[in-house]
């Protein structure tokens, strides 16, 4: 014990650990433990019965498909935006860079009602597409648009630092050897940024799966069509059916932990690349 203490020259270990663990317990650990305790009182059969209800299964489908499509769009747009912000100079670049963070700062409910009014039949964008018979608000397309808005900063902010640290020498070498710009991008740059793209995709996907505020307004919330899983949990909670809400929440938690695990796996590899670059 003495030996261990003498190794620590810097003061404050006891105090800082004490405060950290106390606040962590009150805010995170005890509430999470109560979820575990409550689950343990539930019957496995009842849990399975709840999560295999047709309406719940349909909501899983809606949530996963829309989150996946939105994150895929964000992966492509995120790489383009990051590329433009790192490699090119143009008027308004700083403004564009600052704007990327808007979805983090704008309350999701505000984004939700604003996107809804834009994409409804009477809105600027919705009115345009309505001429071609395409409805956006109150359909799955609307959900995807809200999720694209929510997820875009994740990919841009994951890819940007990697692009910034990329050694120009490989590209120069490839140019000297006569490779075309497209070839250089796909053979030299793309493999380097791919882990960051996956990280951004994963973070955006995780966030989109659980997103509620921006989606409820634009989705229309039709059962089997545009009803997302968080909304079903919310509905169960409003009916004080805590057992059903918890059962469905467990599936969502499992999915988000799995995503987080995969992202961490990729990120550890990515960190090595970043450290090697600097």
């Amino acid at each position: 014990m003495m030996k261990k203490a003498s190794k620590r020259v810097i003061p404050g270990f006891g105090l800082s650990m004490g405060v950290t663990i106390s606040i962590l317990s009150i805010v995170v650990l005890i509430p999470l433990a109560s979820l575990v305790v409550f689950t343990s009182t539930m019957d496995i059969g009842a849990i399975i019965e709840t999560i295999t209800r047709k309406r719940v299964l349909a909501s899983f489908e809606v949530s996963f498909i829309t989150a996946f499509i939105a994150s895929a769009i964000n992966a492509v747009m995120g790489v383009i935006l990051a590329w433009v912000l790192v490699r090119y100079d143009f008027p308004g670049k700083r403004l564009l860079d600052g704007m990327i963070e808007l979805p983090f700062a704008l309350p999701t409910a505000v984004a939700g009602i604003s996107l809804t009014s834009l994409t409804a039949n009477t809105g600027l964008i919705g009115g345009f597409f309505d001429k071609f018979g395409i409805k956006i608000a109150y359909t799955r397309i609307g959900i995807v648009i809200a999720l694209v808005f929510i997820g875009i900063p994740f990919v841009v902010r994951a890819v940007q630092p990697v692009l910034e640290k990329l050694e120009p020498s490989y590209e120069e070498a490839a140019t000297v050897l006569g490779a075309s710009r497209t070839r250089i991008f796909w053979k030299v740059i793309f493999p380097e940024i791919l882990p960051a793209v996956f990280t951004g995709f994963g973070l955006a996907f995780g966030r989109c799966l659980g997103e509620y505020g921006s989606v409820v307004f634009i989705a229309g919330n039709q059962p089997f069509e545009t009803e997302i899983t968080p909304l079903i949990i919310m509905a169960e909670l409003q009916e004080y059916d805590y057992a059903s809400a918890t059962a469905i929440a467990l599936v969502m938690l499992l999915a988000s932990f799995l995503i987080l695990f995969l992202v961490n796996l990729i990120q550890t590899r990515n960190a090595k690349i970043l450290k090697g670059g600097s």
Binding site: I80, Y212, Y242, I259
Partner: protein
């Protein structure tokens, strides 16, 4: 060779064009919509909606929850960053994961776990009732939910900076007999000053806009447990679109202000760290 450079110039402007178009459609247009919709029926209606009694009360509750979130997460962030970066101990990685956990949980599930902890079916509910403490469907629940969803925001900004800085300076100071507070205020804090401010800005942004978790824990009582984002929802669902957008415009102004402060903090912080180098 010449053909190649013309080609890459075309690609450059196509990509810039795509980016700007995306930013205008997805980011600028929603902001402008909030402003134009809120002013659709003129200034008088706008001012009436913003100065409405319930709007003001909702704004005050939002500010209250935000202040709590920033203060608690600041205290936590400073101590946690100190513990995690200045010492070696077992379970450090696990502790780090635990701190980051709240941001990966869906806000609705965040609300759910607080309902399970303090709600009617909780083992401690009888005790809470005896002490006359209301958490679920009351202001303390809203504050707890807000603290939860913003929990790692400050520590996450501090930890990488402190990790990069190492422990040599603090160790030297401690060996020369400096006390904990002196070491922190004279040596550690100057390094993390900008990261700390940055964390506070991010925490404020998320805290004032939190919707899902707060929605679960709020009883949706106007004037009592209604935050600004929840007030927007109520107005919108009552088809009071102009007031809903007017209230939203307050949040938009706060968000834009936060983005500007964020850019300034980031800019000064970057310049200062470059000067040191």
């Amino acid at each position: 060779m010449n053909k190649e450079t013309i080609g890459s110039k075309v690609v450059k402007w196509i990509l810039i064009g795509v980016s700007i178009l995306f930013a205008i459609l997805m980011l600028v247009l929603p902001l402008i919509t909030v402003i134009t919709e809120s002013l659709k029926q003129g200034w008088q209606v706008y001012i009436d909606s913003v100065a409405d009694e319930y709007t003001v009360k909702a704004l005050l509750l939002t500010l209250e929850a935000t202040v709590f979130a920033v203060v608690i997460n600041t205290v936590f962030g400073l101590f946690a960053a100190w513990a995690l970066t200045k010492f070696r101990f077992k379970g450090k990685k696990l502790l780090g994961t635990m701190i980051d956990l709240p941001v990966t949980v869906s806000p609705i599930i965040a609300g759910l776990i607080f309902v399970l902890t303090f709600g009617r079916q909780s083992p401690i509910y009888p005790l809470l009732q005896e002490l006359d403490i209301k958490i679920v469907f009351a202001v303390p629940g809203i504050i707890l939910a807000t603290v939860f969803v913003t929990f790692p925001f400050i520590s996450r900004e501090l930890i990488p900076v402190l990790e990069a800085q190492g422990t040599d300076e603090e160790e030297a100071a401690a060996l020369m007999g400096a006390k904990g507070w002196t070491i922190f205020s004279k040596i550690t804090f100057p390094h993390i000053k900008w990261a700390f401010l940055y964390g506070i800005v991010l925490c404020t942004a998320r805290a004032m806009g939190e919707f899902g978790a707060v929605s679960v824990l709020s009883g949706h009582l106007r004037g009592k447990t209604n935050t600004l984002p929840l007030h927007v929802e109520i107005l919108f669902n009552e088809f009071k679109y102009v007031p809903a957008f007017a209230v939203s415009s307050i949040l938009v102004m706060m968000a834009v202000l936060i983005l500007i402060i964020r850019s300034i903090v980031e800019y000064i912080g970057k310049r200062e760290s470059e000067d040191v180098r």
